[in-house]
């Protein structure tokens, strides 16, 4: 790593000139704090665009692989399977991406910069919520790219552009609620690699044990029963419904129960854990 030397002589007088205890703007509200921290998250994407690569390459791989390898066998034709699979892949993409919020938070907390944030007169949860809001942008970008790949491969949503926008919004709301779990994990667990491991153990069964890849009708009864309680399955059903134009309010309602419940439980828990840290 190259370093830059500050060769310039520091003038003590110049430092005294920038000191002034009387300049003290009014503190902004919590929302402004959250948005400022969200801006911080976006700057990180700007400085490290390679992290978007992760968020994009996996869903693209899954879409292409599943469609062309299993599509014919599962749905009779690759075209028909893509139509079924794509909403599910979107859900999986966003679910996997939520891990990163906990992972980044855990890495961040180990650095001195969070000590500074904690010593600032800002709303306690705003650094975390700011990161969550910034990650929504990441989720949105991933979702748009998956849609683009799908459209190129021949995916055609019945409800067109409006349907796609609504699905992205639904996914973002769901992700926001779900992320609280990983924020909590990120606050509790010691190392960021164990955040990853724990999160995968949790995410793998709930994404694959759902209706993302196949219709549940072919599964054994006990599994169907379990999946009926899987929030990821409800989200997938709602996303499919929106894109097919067959959605009803109950499907959306079912999809939103989990994020609402998770927020109510894990947001206060995160706040408690965060303020106790240090």
């Amino acid at each position: 790593m190259s370093t830059i030397e500050g060769e310039k002589r520091i003038a003590g007088a110049a430092i005294e000139k920038v000191l002034d205890t009387s300049v003290r703007p009014d503190p902004p509200g919590p929302l402004a704090n959250v948005l400022t921290f969200a801006w911080r998250g976006l700057l990180k994407i700007k400085h490290m665009p390679e992290q978007m690569f992760d968020a994009v390459i996996t869903p693209v791989m899954f879409t292409v692989m599943f469609t062309y390898l299993f599509g014919g066998a599962l749905a009779g034709s690759t075209e028909a399977y893509l139509q079924f699979l794509l909403p599910g892949i979107l859900v999986q993409t966003v679910m996997f991406a939520t891990i990163y919020t906990g992972f980044t938070l855990n890495t961040d907390l180990g650095k001195g910069v969070y000590d500074r944030f904690r010593s600032l007169p800002v709303w306690r949860l705003s650094p975390i919520m700011g990161a969550m809001v910034a990650d929504l942008q990441r989720h949105t970008i991933s979702a748009i790219i998956v849609f683009l790949i799908g459209l190129i491969m021949g995916f055609r949503p019945e409800t067109g552009l409006l349907g796609m926008i609504l699905v992205i919004l639904l996914l973002d709301v769901f992700a926001l609620g779900f992320t609280w779990i990983f924020v909590t994990v990120g606050l509790v667990v010691r190392s960021s690699s164990s955040v990853m491991t724990m999160s995968w153990f949790f995410l793998m069964p709930i994404t694959f044990g759902s209706n993302i890849f196949v219709d549940t009708a072919t599964m054994p009864q006990w599994l169907q029963t379990a999946i009926a309680f899987n929030p990821v399955a409800h989200l997938t059903t709602a996303a499919r419904g929106i894109l097919d134009g067959t959605v009803d309010a109950s499907q959306i309602g079912l999809a939103l129960i989990a994020p609402a419940v998770l927020t109510v439980i894990f947001a206060p828990l995160s706040l408690y854990l965060y303020s106790r840290k240090g």
């Binding site: 310039k8 520091i10 110049a14 005294e16 300049v23 703007p25 001195g112």
Partner: protein
């Protein structure tokens, strides 16, 4: 006022503050030292604030005032009853080895950790109940660079500016001013992770000054820096009080506390073992430190016997085979001792009589030396501790 102050019978030591750092000062310390140590158990309130200053000081003159501050980690006390009085506008040094409780003390005072016992008022605010109000008036530069290394220097400062309520434009203008003053302007748009250690530290301190705090905490501001960068940071710290800011810095470098701090508290195992000016601390051990270097190492035992007889104190061997060290009770006896060596025909290649170093003070107070790790090793250890 603190009860400890009243228990100190003699305050004359304060009168010797004028003495330079490397010249021997003859003072009546024995009496005050004795009474202080007895009165306050393990804590020696060296110098114990002169009578005059004692009356002038009221609570509002103190930036920090703690009584019996405690913090437990895993049931064990990390900070075990610390009493601090830090006058406004001064630079105060917390000196101690790794794991002494310096960082924990700072974290409590900067509202990052809740005390488990004792009382603390910082800028007149109660630490726990008025934490939010206090955060508006303090700033912290943590032990490890508290800058966001993924962002550029400019973005770091704008981020803090926006969080503190500056407009977009105001935050940018303020960032530019600070980058210029701290010599970071040329690298303003580069990611902080590409900065040298010294630049990162300067950015770190600049981040603490986006609004000028009334109290600034600097936790080991020069740990891991090369000598040139360290001097730059020292230059900066000396200037910080210009606008009335009080600075509380922690350090494990004796020289650093000596160079910067108006008053120093020595911390060991979570307890304060001494408090005073650098001069007072040094004076507490004896009038001065005599270092004698012999021409022939073989005569060291003989020299020790003669010196001990002449000085009436213990004379120790230095790790260097020709050197002997002793704390002398007064200047005159040092002269006599050297004359006695000459009379015995023991050649002295050089000698010095000066105030004891803070390491010698530390040894006298605790019975063990401060850690003399290299900065790199020290950093590695404390990073481990932070995990």
């Amino acid at each position: 006022m603190s009860g400890a102050v009243r228990r100190c019978a003699v305050g004359q030591v304060g009168a010797t503050i004028a003495g330079g750092l490397n010249q021997a000062v003859n003072i009546e310390t024995n009496q005050s030292e004795g009474s202080c140590v007895e009165g306050v158990e393990r804590t020696a309130y060296l110098g114990c604030f002169g009578e005059r200053t004692q009356h002038a000081m009221t609570t509002s003159d103190q930036a920090v005032e703690t009584h019996g501050l405690r913090k437990l980690y895993g049931g064990k006390p990390a900070v075990d009853g610390i009493d601090l009085m830090i006058p406004k506008g001064s630079i105060f040094g917390l000196l101690g080895p790794n794991g002494a409780g310096k960082t924990t003390t700072v974290r409590m005072l900067a509202t990052l950790a809740r005390p488990d016992g004792g009382e603390a008022r910082v800028l007149g605010h109660d630490l726990v109940r008025e934490a939010a109000a206090l955060r508006r008036r303090i700033a912290l530069t943590g032990q490890f660079a508290s800058v966001d290394e993924d962002l550029s220097g400019q973005e770091n400062l704008v981020l803090i500016g926006r969080l503190l309520g500056f407009s977009r434009k105001g935050a940018r203008a303020r960032a530019e001013e600070l980058l210029e003053a701290f010599g970071i302007a040329d690298a303003a748009n580069k990611q902080a992770k590409s900065y040298s250690g010294g630049m990162r530290r300067r950015l770190d301190i600049a981040s603490s000054l986006v609004t000028t705090p009334e109290l600034l905490f600097l936790d080991e501001p020069t740990t891991g820096l090369d000598p040139r960068s360290r001097n730059q940071v020292w230059d900066i710290i000396r200037r910080l009080t210009a606008a009335g800011t009080t600075v509380l810095l922690t350090t494990q470098y004796l020289e650093e506390a000596d160079q910067l701090a108006d008053r120093i508290a020595v911390i060991d195992h979570g307890r304060m073992i001494a408090e005073g000016t650098s001069t007072e601390l040094k004076a507490s051990v004896g009038a001065g430190a005599l270092h004698v270097r012999l021409a022939e190492p073989g005569r060291r035992e003989a020299a020790q016997t003669i010196l001990e007889k002449a000085l009436g104190v213990t004379v120790e061997f230095d790790s260097e085979p020709r050197r002997l060290n002793a704390m002398v009770p007064d200047d005159a006896s040092a002269g006599h001792a050297l004359a006695a060596l000459a009379d015995a025909g023991i050649a002295v290649s050089d000698f010095s009589l000066g105030q004891p170093s803070l390491d010698e003070v530390f040894f006298a107070l605790t019975g063990h030396h401060t850690e003399t790790e290299t900065p790199v090793a020290a950093e590695a250890v404390s990073k481990e501790a932070a995990q």
